[in-house]
Assembly symmetry: C2
Homo-oligomer: 129 residues x 2
Amino acid sequence: MSNQELSESGACCSPLVREPLTEDWAGDLARMFKALGDPVRLRLLSLVASHAGGEACVCDISETFDLSQPTISHHLKVLRSAGLLDCERRGTWVYYWVVPSALQQLSAVLLTEGGPVVPSETCAAEVPA
Amino acid sequence: MSNQELSESGACCSPLVREPLTEDWAGDLARMFKALGDPVRLRLLSLVASHAGGEACVCDISETFDLSQPTISHHLKVLRSAGLLDCERRGTWVYYWVVPSALQQLSAVLLTEGGPVVPSETCAAEVPA
């Protein structure tokens, strides 16, 4: 199931603290979180998203990193494969921008409703002390 | 820098679309996102968080997975090491609960402000068509 379908169904973004994630949905989310599980990719995503106009090419961001352009392109491809970035070639360069709905889904699923989740003493009473 | 310190400084949770993430903060976030980048761990986190009382032990959740208790305990340990779960031993079992501030930080950093980020044509005008 694509992110788009999940988004349209409206069933995707229930916070994970509210009800157990389904296996399918956990798989989709894990793919996106895994793409974010790297400091360089996180910074790349942030640089692209916060760049003037909300988009950037490798030419705009490569000087921020002590990495080769092919390495940066690889990380951008991982983010794109995960549905977090989209891109378009224009002349010499490929321009990237974030997919807002993807970030919104991840943000929504991590929401903790009604403030902090305070553990109760329920389970403590169920086991021998 | 611990999550707690980041949370208290108030400098931690600026959405990544607003300004480029610092290297340190990207490292901290990536560790947490990496822990979420696995379907089993995501489901475990969700099961713990949505369990009655907001906490659970392996005894409560192991039947949901076709995995051994040591494997489940390993995944719980990864989530705990990332600061997403906390735990306490009570008698025979170790009880886990989510760390709401950690989820809130991740949720906040993924927020897209002011609705969808629509790419402008700024960069398109800078490169040859």
